[in-house]
Symmetry: C2
Subunit: 157 residues, 2 copies
DNA sequence: AACAGATAGTTGAACTTTCAATCAAGTCGT
DNA sequence: ACGACTTGATTGAAAGTTCAACTATCTGTT
């Protein structure tokens, strides 16, 4: 921040929106996480990984791609996959084209867990978010957050 | 979930919006936190507490009210305030009307830190979010997240 | 007054994420 | 083919969060 330039503070309305945003994501993510843990024993982070794997050819994705896809650090992915592997939902295989590479693969048990957890998750997303908003407003949320992702997206950790 | 009823999955568009939302809040919160830590040595959670205190009469708020205001658990507030107290930004005083009560008070040093950190924070919120969206879209975000907060708001931990 | 139950806050352990350091394998320029 | 550099992934420790258990105080009922 250059000291010469004045900071443009948020006006009252913007501040309200920003605080609603902060508070909203806090309670929303917390509730979705709680529901998944209570009913299926997985966190929302783990759930998102299972989803990505299930949609991918061979139900497998390399660690770095998983990290990029979720905007998580490599380290975080390593730890999370370690837990998922311990629980038998995912397994690791060596990448044959790159000696350094490791690929995470969804196991049958992982797919089973995902299949049932998906109901809980989607119902939550609807009940706590999608169904509360008008389609236009929800689309606006999508537009805005897409821009945020694009603006901050390709960082390295 | 009753097994009789069918889960209404998200359509492709809704799914895009939801994923943008998830990815967006991840990179946004991460960046705002990083900026505050790098330039002022406080996390975004700590920053939010300082803000609430600074706006309150006597620059002080009771622990439970702080928890409610941030949608954090009591335990989390206790730990965070302990850290802020260790760093001299906040101090604890006994509540005189309720023997169980503890009130967190912003110190002068805490106010100083907040005063400079606020520039960093607001500039970030603008650059990474507010200025990327049209006023209408940002207002829509505010509307939606207000509803989320109201729907999930008053939970106990 | 005394008890039951609710509320405020803390504590310590378990769990998750971050951070910096490390190791192995790939790429590039000479 | 050598060294310098980059990239992919892991590791262990530190920082932060959650969870369940606990103490202390308050409130309402009898």
């Amino acid at each position: 921040m250059k000291s010469a330039e004045q900071t443009r503070w948020l006006d009252e309305r913007q501040q309200e929106h920003w605080r609603a945003f902060l508070g909203g994501i806090t309670v929303l993510m917390d509730q979705l996480d709680r529901d998944l843990r209570a009913e299926h024993g997985i966190s929302i982070t783990e759930y998102e990984i299972l989803v990505r794997l299930s949609e991918s050819p061979d139900r497998s994705i390399r660690m770095a791609d998983l990290a990029a896809s979720l905007s998580h650090s490599r380290s975080r992915i390593t730890h999370t996959i370690t837990r998922l592997e311990r629980d038998g939902l995912v397994s690791r295989i060596q990448c044959d084209t790159d000696g350094r590479g490791v690929t995470a693969v969804l196991t049958d048990k992982g797919f089973e867990t995902l299949s049932t957890a998906a109901h809980t998750h989607v119902n939550g997303v609807r009940k706590y978010l999608v169904d509360l908003a008008s389609p236009e407003d929800f689309a606006a949320v999508g537009r805005v957050m897409t821009k945020v992702q694009n603006a901050l997206g390709g960082r390295t950790f």
